[in-house]
């Protein structure tokens, strides 16, 4: 068993354009220009960037939910860069995803029970519905969801509850890795704290590795061990959180950190400008 769960090297992704017969792409918009990423077992890695940085694309590329144009992705020692979907599917149980908007990432016509039980039966984590139901019920305590949720559909739950169903869905399959894509953006600060807490506890208890995508550096600091800072399709800095935040090497990282207003009066903050105006 490899110590490093994911090793991505030189990943390039472009959208649009036409595919030539030899598989190469012509034209289109490049989103990732050659990114290296490493995620160790049980480690929480943050991927931070503003809009257009390519962070969401990187997450989906690593999970092979989109195809990559160049580079390699190695999962637990196996090269999955160009694996056909039929061979990817059995591996998918080991890498799961939590989404930003649980309103759209949970099937509006399914009950919570169905949303959580079906994957368990499909991957044979549970061998019949009774066992699956038991597992789900047992898990509800961990995520502080009332059992009555099981019969509800997603829009009958509160926002915080929906988010926790999304987290439960990912964790119930007992994966090795979870991709959390902007999962707390748009949440109230209190609900956000609950979700982050839950995430930290779960990853520790279940030994999950996690890639946490966010535009918010403060949130990254709360949950991540290491961080990758992205800008325009490239990684501009990476390292352990305490190092990057204490002594950022890249100007862009310093810009990002400086732009965050802290809830303490700082008279010089507004006028402090680390770089000429960009627009």
């Amino acid at each position: 068993m490899a110590e490093t769960l994911f090793v991505a090297s030189g990943v390039e992704v472009a959208y649009g354009g036409k595919r030539r017969l030899n598989g190469e792409r012509a034209g289109g918009v490049k989103v990732l220009y050659g990114v290296d990423l490493r995620i160790g077992r049980g480690e929480t890695v943050g991927i931070v960037g503003e809009s257009g940085s390519g962070k969401t694309t990187l997450g989906r590329a690593v999970m092979r939910l989109i195809d990559i144009d160049a580079g390699s992705i190695v999962f637990d020692g196996q090269d999955i860069s160009r694996l056909p979907e039929s061979q990817m599917r059995p591996l998918r149980r080991r890498m799961q995803m939590i989404f930003q908007d649980p309103m759209t990432s949970l099937n509006p016509r399914h009950t919570v029970r169905r949303i959580l039980v079906e994957p368990l039966l499909f991957h044979r984590v549970a061998h019949d519905s009774a066992e699956a139901e038991n597992r789900v019920r047992g898990f509800f305590d961990r995520v502080a969801l009332p059992l009555a949720c099981l019969d509800r559909t997603p829009h009958e739950l509160s926002g915080g509850q929906r988010q926790r169903v999304g987290i439960a869905r990912a964790a119930l399959l007992e994966p090795d890795f979870v991709l959390a894509d902007e999962i707390v953006s748009g949440l109230d600060v209190s609900t956000q704290a609950q979700a982050l807490n839950l995430l930290k506890t779960l990853t520790r208890d279940l030994g999950l590795a996690m890639a946490f995508i966010s535009h918010d550096l403060s949130v990254i600091r709360a949950v991540c061990d290491r961080v990758y800072v992205m800008k325009a399709g490239l990684v501009v800095e990476e390292g352990r959180c305490e190092d990057v935040f204490a002594a950022p090497k890249s100007l862009y990282t310093r810009l990002l950190i400086d732009a965050i207003p802290l809830p303490e009066i700082d008279p010089g903050w507004l006028d402090r400008d680390l770089a000429p105006e960009i627009d």
């Binding site: 998918r92 990432s105 994957p119 509800r152 559909t153 869905r169």
Partner: protein, 299 residues
């Protein structure tokens, strides 16, 4: 709502999803009115031999062209009067409902089945699959539907089966377009990405994730299609291309009644009214279903 209030709301155990959906359906007035009418029609059609006062085929020239009960010269037992061959209009109306409903349900279902299948495939796989199916739909829809149906029935020969086949063959495109568009929209949604991330294969995703979300639009369309099927059947029997002339159909009755519209207007008016009411009922039902089944709209 805050988590606290949501928890207390959910504390009491509730009814199942199916019964909640049913209740939501029945809360929509159009569903009750339209659905109720259709249900009544189905009962009438099913129990026609017991409900119809007379044999619809019995001719009695002594009792020809009687007006509806209540008007001068009427026979009390012939409630809607008789036609020029002495046949009871009401009984013919009741039996005519059978043909109308059989055609409506079977033709609409077949068209829906064909159209939905192709629509799902086109919407999910896109690429050349979509290209092929969309071109097919475009070409198909370029033909004038009524003329095409007349042509088909003329070729296939008269009979209920031919009428059903003609309608299904022509109208599947309507379903294909809607289902294709709906599938494309749903395929972009995060819950589909989630399903892919879980590892479900495409067939599972199409059938168990996307289709349930397409069903509301589909149901409304099926209901509308039933109304259309009834009209097409009436048109075909009006021009004598539907079932054999013995079996009473509303379109046939309209054709017969048209000749003597000034003397025996009831022979023309009764089937027309029945047609109108039935199509209206299907439309109302369809509209009501659309509103009741859309979880977003309801909130």
């Amino acid at each position: 709502m805050t988590d606290a209030s949501a928890s207390s709301f959910l504390a009491a155990s509730g009814p199942s999803l199916a019964s909640r959906r049913l209740r939501a359906l029945l809360a929509e007035p159009k569903v009750i009115i339209g659905g109720g009418l259709i249900l009544a029609l189905i009962v009438i059609a099913l129990f026609a031999p017991w409900i119809a006062p007379k044999n619809p085929l019995d001719q009695d020239l002594m009792l020809a062209s009687l007006p509806p009960a209540g008007l001068a010269g009427a026979e009390p037992s012939y409630y809607f009067g008789t036609d020029d061959l002495g046949r009871d209009v009401l009984s013919r109306l009741i039996y005519g409902a059978r043909i109308a409903l059989i055609v409506a349900f079977v033709a609409a279902s077949l068209a829906a089945l064909a159209g939905t299948t192709l629509g799902l495939l086109a919407g999910w796989y896109r690429g050349w699959v979509d290209g092929l199916i969309s071109r097919l739909v475009d070409i198909w829809m370029a033909f004038p539907p009524v003329l095409l149906s007349i042509l088909l029935v003329a070729v296939l020969g008269a009979g209920v089966g031919s009428v059903i086949a003609a309608i299904a063959i022509i109208d599947w495109t309507r379903f294909c377009r809607v289902v294709r568009a709906e599938t494309m929209a749903q395929a972009e949604a995060d819950y589909v990405t989630a399903a892919r991330a879980i590892g479900f294969p495409p067939f599972h995703i199409l059938m168990r994730e996307i289709l349930p979300n397409v069903v509301p639009a589909l149901l409304a369309l099926v209901s509308l299609e039933m109304g259309i099927a009834v009209i097409v059947e009436a048109i075909l029997s009006f021009v004598g291309l539907s079932v054999s002339s013995d079996t009473p159909t509303w379109g046939g009755m309209i054709a017969e009644g048209r000749q003597f519209i000034h003397q025996t207007w009831w022979v023309f008016a009764a089937p027309l009214a029945a047609l109108f009411a039935t199509v209206l009922a299907f439309n109302q039902l369809g509209d009501g279903l659309r509103r009741a089944l859309d979880p977003v709209l309801r909130r």
